[in-house]
């Protein structure tokens, strides 16, 4: 799964730590998601999308290898 969290963060001038606080997770979690090392839960995906005022599909995208 690809995601554009880093891009969205930059647009909003948010650090990993600030985003982590907004969605109530640790900074390691945001970092691991950005690096593609962790597939997050649906709830967290929805929260992150809400912080960026976007739909989940705009931020997270399936890759061929996910099938």
């Amino acid at each position: 799964m690809r995601n554009s969290i880093k891009v969205e963060r930059d647009k909003k001038n948010l650090t990993q730590a600030q985003l982590a606080e907004l969605v109530s997770v640790s900074r390691q979690t945001i970092n691991a998601i950005e690096l593609g090392k962790y597939n997050l839960s649906t709830i967290l995906a929805l929260k992150i999308a809400q912080v960026f005022n976007q739909s989940v599909h705009d931020i997270f995208e399936l890759e061929d290898s996910d099938w």
């Binding site: 990993q16 109530s24 997770v25 640790s26 900074r27 390691q28 979690t29 970092n31 691991a32 998601i33 690096l35 962790y38 997050l40 839960s41 709830i43 967290l44």
Partner: protein, 159 residues
Amino acid sequence: MKTIYLLPNQFKRIGWVLFIPGIILGIIFLINQSERFEFFNITVFSIADQQALGKTEFFSFTKNNIFDETIGILIIIGALFIAFAKEKSEDEFISKIRLESLVWATYVNYIILILSIIFIYDMIFFWVLVFNMFTTLFFFIIRFNWALNKSKNQIRDEE
């Protein structure tokens, strides 16, 4: 995400307070096994107890030195608290690391046990079983904290 069956974060500190004396007393016990502090001689209730002649007694009261029992309980409760107290920022990613570490620790523990069954005999095997009471928790604590630190260091590298 709600994490279940985990203890509040403060239990980690309590865990260390129990675990460290447990380990120190354990080392004293291993170095000098004949050392039996009088203080620990008490009458205990036992569900099953085998007397010197091999006769098993059930549900009886018996005299016992509880030095080794005390050590075992301090280490196990201490290690359980350390292992299963929540991290300050326990979340779904940390739960994943927790699960992976638990699976890893169980595998490693039983691989070592299988090798011990094959290659170690008699009283030394008894000691393997004694250590085996604690090793799953030890392996878990080491692997979990290593993985947690790795993910923290990754953040520092990113900066």
